[in-house]
């Protein structure tokens, strides 16, 4: 497909011609949507961070070394995080600041062309919003947030990658999950899991579904039931072994059994719409705790964002499946033997669970408990490098986008894996799994990846 679409920023395209409409004028609409974003009532989610990020950058260049994409690209100037932010900032200064109107280019204000709007749109999908640059910024400027706000403006113009918008949030709203899986098919998958556990391990399990008032409502990325089924099988086995009161749920119109919320990546409206679906599930099933499966961005949305969107959500206890596993091991509700996972194992900190979610020690405690040889990837924890699956990228692959994912973020990650000498990369996030699956193939690494649940299940001791 490469070469079919007109290049508007670099050699890649994240937005199809049908969506970007590169030959259609959009500057005036962009500026109007931007104006709306600068209104504190309209931008009820991130007005202050947007303003401070636009106003306070002193161009100290601290973010450059922190950006994996910029570094891996060979430090191409168009990929510098400040260059990308300035593509939006110059419009802000030109149209919305007094200094920009008076001093123009002296303060970085400049009017932009239609072609530069196209470039800005594509550029907004060259940053995974991993916020490593924000973490190191001495001022507190957040280039990741500027990227997300740019995506929001573009969404107002109907511009968003079809993988996360039309085939993502819109499918989830229409079908109850982004995979368009009806209840019957979902239940069939659960039956398959039961049979598999019985055949492979001789374990008879019950998989509770739609149980009202359960201690734990576990919601996974619906894509995991297709792409990462081994993680789900492991999860079922662990939850069964723990003997706790838990349940999955089926999809319905107005509710969802899909934990993802791709709105987080590009639109507050979509974020809130999907959040409403999750809220309806909680209202219907009244669980004591919502457990987010191995999914990073969903944890961020449910744990940190929904409570300020829907007041009812403040009463919802949300934990990650990592926290649950950690609790189960600590409480002795499951017994594990690290000898059962003898290979060297390393762990990739997903941005959304680590830097954005604060879950640094839980996965390490789990992995040290269930694996004989745990090795740290460098750098890790707060300075972990994004794998390149974040921000929606893991499911974006049109044109030559996969090359972008693999030869930038992916290249760094492949090297880090090699340096650990690990044979298994433990992953706690669906998007990371989607990305690492490709990284391992693309860079021909002699390693395999596993979900945390798989490793825990493999280490289980039955008494």
């Amino acid at each position: 497909m490469s070469g079919e679409m007109r290049r508007v920023f670099d050699e890649f395209r994240a937005l199809s011609d049908d969506i970007l409409k590169p030959d259609e004028p959009k500057k005036d609409r962009f500026v109007a949507a931007f104006k709306k974003m600068l209104n504190r009532e309209e931008n009820w989610t991130f007005w202050l961070p947007l303003l401070t990020s636009l106003d306070l950058c002193v161009k100290c260049n601290t973010c450059a070394d922190a950006c994996p994409f910029y570094v891996a690209s060979g430090r191409k100037e168009i990929y510098h995080p400040v260059y990308r932010s300035d593509m939006l900032r110059r419009i802000y200064k030109k149209h919305f600041t007094l200094s920009g109107k008076i001093f123009g280019g002296l303060v970085g204000a400049r009017d932009v062309t239609e072609e530069e709007i196209n470039a800005l749109a594509e550029s907004a999908y060259r940053c995974s919003v991993c916020r490593r640059c924000a973490y190191v910024c001495p001022i507190g400027v957040d280039n990741g947030l500027i990227t997300r706000e740019t995506r929001k403006i573009l969404y107002e113009l109907g511009i968003a990658p079809d993988e996360i918008y039309h085939k993502g949030t819109l499918y989830q709203k229409e079908y109850g999950n982004a995979t368009k899986t009806p209840s019957e098919a979902f239940l069939n998958t659960l039956d398959f899991i039961k049979e598999d556990l019985e055949d492979e391990k001789g374990i008879e399990v019950e998989i509770p579904v739609d149980k009202v008032g359960a201690d734990y409502l576990v919601i996974n990325n619906a894509g995991d039931y297709y792409a990462f089924l081994d993680t789900i099988i492991g999860q079922v086995e662990v939850l069964h072994a723990a003997g706790i009161d838990w349940t999955y749920n089926t999809p319905w119109v107005g509710g969802t059994n899909d934990v993802v919320n791709y709105g987080l990546f590009f639109s507050d409206k979509e974020l809130a719409d999907i959040g409403k679906l999750h809220l309806e599930v909680v209202k219907k099933l009244k669980p004591k705790t919502v457990v987010v499966g191995e999914c990073g961005h969903a944890y961020e949305a449910m744990k940190f964002l929904y409570k300020d969107i829907y007041p009812e959500w403040k009463n919802v206890r949300v934990i990650s499946i990592l926290e649950l596993f950690d609790e189960l091991i600590k409480a002795g509700k499951i017994k594990v033997d690290p000898e059962k996972n003898p290979q060297p194992v390393t762990y990739h900190d997903p941005c959304k669970l680590g830097r954005l979610g604060g879950l640094y020690e839980e996965p390490r405690r789990i992995l040290k408990a269930v694996c004989k040889d745990f090795r740290e990837m460098q750098p890790n924890r707060d300075m972990s490098v994004c794998c390149g699956g974040g921000g929606g990228f893991a499911i974006m692959h049109k044109d030559d986008f996969m090359t972008f994912r693999m030869e930038t973020y992916g290249k760094i990650k492949a090297q880090q894996i090699k340096e650990t000498g690990a044979e298994i990369v433990a992953l706690a996030c669906s998007n990371c799994k989607g990305q690492f699956r490709e990284i391992i193939n693309w860079h021909q690494l002699d390693v395999e990846w596993k979900g945390i649940a798989e490793l825990v299940a493999n280490a289980l001791i039955y008494e």
Partner: protein, 222 residues
């Protein structure tokens, strides 16, 4: 006293201070009353208010983020910031009647050396040149010129307190320095710096409270 001295010594102090105060208060209120943004923390978040204050102090005292993640500009930045801190302390002490000449002198010298080094660093780095606008160079030049003139014009001499107090008591007496053109040149640039400070990205000296406390740390207890 000529018209220039009158303007710089009598009119400008109040223009500069008014703009400084109004702009700073406007921005502080605007940010303080911003609708609570969605939690957008970056972890680890200090677990208590005390730890947050300690982290903020670490930032102020050793510019820890710059030290940790951009060592190339740390020493220059530290010189500049320490110079500004020294000048702030000198100003307060002088008004209180304790004029430590060398505190002011060394403060200005530190600002001068720090800003020249930062200017050279910016000019010498292709990446920094790429992302810089004219205003980043002008900001540093303003610091270079202001601190140079303050040193050249002997701004920190023992008579400065009388002038500062006269401004505070709304009876400015620039005639104390009448005929000292170097002093008035220094004073003019200091006034320019003061009024410009809250209008520029240099406002981070207090904006950082909001970007860290309300955004990076989520504005809530952890």
């Amino acid at each position: 006293m000529n018209g220039w001295e009158y303007f710089v010594g009598v009119v400008m102090p109040y223009i500069a201070l008014s703009i400084f105060v109004i702009a700073a208060i406007y921005k502080a209120i605007r940010w303080a009353t911003a609708p609570k943004n969605l939690d957008w923390e970056l972890f680890p978040v200090p677990e208590s208010k005390g730890k947050q204050i300690a982290e903020m102090l670490r930032e102020i005292i050793v510019l820890y983020q710059v030290y940790s993640y951009n060592r190339k500009i740390w020493f220059q930045s530290l010189l500049l910031h320490y110079g500004l801190y020294a000048l702030g302390i000198w100003l307060v002490l002088t008004v209180l009647g304790i004029n430590i000449y060398y505190l002011g002198f060394l403060g200005a010298l530190s600002v001068l050396v720090g800003s020249i080094l930062l200017l050279l660093t910016r000019l010498g780095s292709s990446e920094m040149r790429l992302i810089s606008n004219a205003v980043q160079y002008l900001n540093l030049l303003l610091l270079v010129v202001t601190s140079s003139l303050a040193l050249y014009g002997d701004f920190f001499n023992e008579r400065i307190r009388d002038y500062l107090l006269s401004v505070i008591y709304l009876k400015p007496e620039p005639e104390i320095f009448s005929g000292n053109s170097a002093f008035f040149a220094a004073l003019f640039f200091i006034e320019l710096f003061v009024l410009y400070l809250p209008l520029s990205s240099m406002v981070h000296f207090f904006a950082k409270y909001y970007t860290w406390d309300k955004i990076r740390w989520g504005g809530s207890d952890h």
